[in-house]
Symmetry: C2
């Protein structure tokens, strides 16, 4: 089958004017790559019927499928559906199930459904309707003469689930295949080093495909198989994942786990362990990320942000002599912070982070020098981190990467308990 | 003078494929609005000379100015400059000052400059060159027959300063005017309520212009004046800012301060006050945001993240009876946390936050119930917050808004010291 191509057309004056960053285009582009659909153009136009018609004409001159976001709402300037239906020569007709769903949605959220909201339940005749459980405007797919338009709402929290649950199955049906992915999360290896290890397998294999995504300080690999059904796709995926594990398993911290904090919290839950954190330069970033994860309360005792030396002594019992002799930014202080917070909280794993996140040198230590320590009955370790970056985002960058390393250290230390 | 129009053309396969979210387009669009330049289209194409030429042709058929990002780097697929120069019928010539700057940049960062890096110092003949102190690839502006192309690098931390320091003055010169803005930050009033208060003045005034930007839980107003020089622009701005202050001054927390945490830290610094935080449901988010601000160490004593009841008792001295009788999610617990962290740290202002950020009810309290308290010698207050949101992003939303309110409370309480 010839590869299909799609164009992403985001509609909305707020995106055009820069009041909203266009995360929808990135989300859809990434998902289309997984489905093997090529994207050569993304465009943005405002809520303007004339320019939308022109953009549609242009998009269909160079792609089989046009995926739009935005302009499905109830107000007078939401004109995507009207304009696109007219372009396809289709009328808008009332879709009763959508009107019923919308009525229920308004009842549930305790708001009043006004007359102009009903406009959202009118959809192009013959369209396949996509439910919107997270909002009021349904989406749809329109097909005519081999041209396909997929209309999605603008807010990402409505668009993303609709894309996953309706657009992906619809597009899969077009290709007659099922797509299934797993995401593998790596820490401690760069994107190019990981690609080097997997190059041969990535080049040889067209099904499953393996695509790397660099995140700040991490790499995610998405492994995607296509097959006639989910079982067959899964059967293709498992040996590919084992092959990746054989090449780079020492850096793999989880499959389908989303991020380091979730991997750490889930492992602590599984093993029935508790952690506690003592932070200086990261200022609560480790605690904040751990508690991003629902269920963190089961495994997270407390986090002490001891910014001043006095607090390090008073709350964590770091010795005055250590601070005087080695400074607050040192291996010794990090280790005493980790031991101190474990003692204070009674947690199984204590973490200490201290350093200089900039922008100015302090304690006689350069910007970017950070010390990390872990304390537990079965494992103690002190790790020096050095970051070379001095631009305006250096502070956030250093603090984020130091907190990532701390989360990974919790995950790693918890995993060593079994073997100790 | 007729209003100019510009098209934003972002070049790069990583944006096209969705591996990078296109924040550049939003940044540039917003800045162009300030300059009074209309934007009707944004487009994205990959690193493909053929499609770039077509996109350029199309863009100049509908706009006076085309602003590109990306494709200025040293590798073989960075072809923006070559393709655009050819489209203008211009040769690339060595720009010695750029080569010198690049050599210095490599020396400073201790890396070796390879031969292909030199390609970045070749620029279209007659172009106005834009320095890049944050990277290696210079940008430039090319003009011919009334058509203008502005070429900027792809990484936002290189693109944004270059846009501000070179593209804005260049574009201002085109219009023969100087533009100057101030940003006013509001908390506690919604975008539409603020617009209602200022509607008359916003509609009447075309210079300065007043543009609102909604941020999560906040509103920013940008007031922009154009004039022949900076002094005249500033003279237009001051009365407009005073008029806004008269209408909505009670919600204004700062001018050109960027965010709540910076406003809070700066005010504490000015008044020589210290704060300390005790967090439960926000899990360190308040501490993390305070310490985002460089200089926080002068005013932030410590932050205690007491997730468990035991830790609330042990570290903060919250009474067992209070926790039993009123639960951890209560006004009483929040107040004892605030008082406790102030006592432990000796800070002037103590903050307590406790609540349920979801996704499940806990302590018999519904998701979205949060209690916030402040404790100081001159002001004590307990504030109930209720958030109605239950989708997948609710946890982050509740935690973020609760931490914003806490930061605002620190700012407000510090300001009351003077008057007490």
């Amino acid at each position: 089958m010839k590869a299909m191509s799609a164009e992403i057309l985001c509609i909305g004056t707020e995106i055009l004017m820069g009041n909203i960053v266009n995360t929808n285009a990135a989300y859809i582009a990434k998902e289309l790559a997984v489905l093997g659909i090529n994207v050569y153009h993304q465009s943005v136009v405002g809520d303007n019927p004339g320019r939308l018609r022109e953009a549609l004409e242009l998009a269909f001159s160079r792609a089989d499928i046009v995926i739009t976001t935005g302009g499905l709402g109830p107000t007078y300037d939401d004109l995507s559906k009207e304009t696109i239906a007219a372009w396809f020569g289709k009328k808008l007709v009332l879709h009763q199930p959508s009107l019923d769903a919308m009525t229920r949605y308004f009842e549930k959220s305790g708001r009043v459904m006004t007359e102009n909201n009903k406009k959202q339940a009118y959809l192009p005749e013959g369209a396949e309707v996509f439910d919107n459980p997270n909002g009021t405007a349904p989406g749809c797919a329109i097909e005519k003469d081999g041209r396909i338009a997929i209309l999605l709402p603008g807010p990402p929290r409505e668009m993303q689930p609709m894309f996953d649950h309706f657009a992906v199955p619809y597009l899969s049906r077009l290709s007659g295949q099922v797509f299934r992915s797993h995401c593998l999360y790596f820490y401690g290896i760069g994107e190019s080093a990981l690609e080097d290890r997997l190059r041969e397998m990535m080049e040889k294999s067209s099904n499953p495909t393996v695509a790397p995504y660099a995140k700040t300080g991490e790499v995610m690999l998405r492994v995607t198989a296509r097959a006639e059904n989910e079982q067959q796709a899964e059967a293709l995926l498992q040996p590919a994942i084992e092959a990746i594990r054989a090449e780079a398993g020492e850096f793999l911290y989880g499959i389908d786990v989303d991020n380091l904090q979730t991997a750490a919290v889930r492992r602590l839950q599984e093993l029935g362990l508790q952690t506690a954190t003592a932070e200086s330069c990261t200022g609560g970033y480790v605690a904040k990320r751990l508690t991003d994860v629902s269920g963190a309360s089961e495994v997270f005792q407390c986090g002490l942000v001891t910014y001043s030396n006095g607090m390090k002594e008073q709350l964590l019992g770091v010795s005055h002599e250590t601070l005087e002799r080695y400074s607050a930014v040192s291996a010794e202080t990090a280790a005493e912070m980790a031991a101190g917070v474990r003692r204070v909280s009674g947690a199984d794993i204590g973490i200490g982070v201290t350093g200089n996140a900039g922008p100015n040198a302090s304690e006689g230590k350069p910007v970017g020098e950070v010390w990390l320590a872990v304390d537990s009955e079965w494992h103690k370790e002190t790790i020096p981190l050095t970051f070379f970056r001095h631009d305006q985002d250096a502070r956030e960058y250093i603090r984020y990467l130091a907190s990532s390393r701390a989360l990974h250290l919790i995950w790693k230390t918890a995993g060593m308990k079994d073997k100790s």
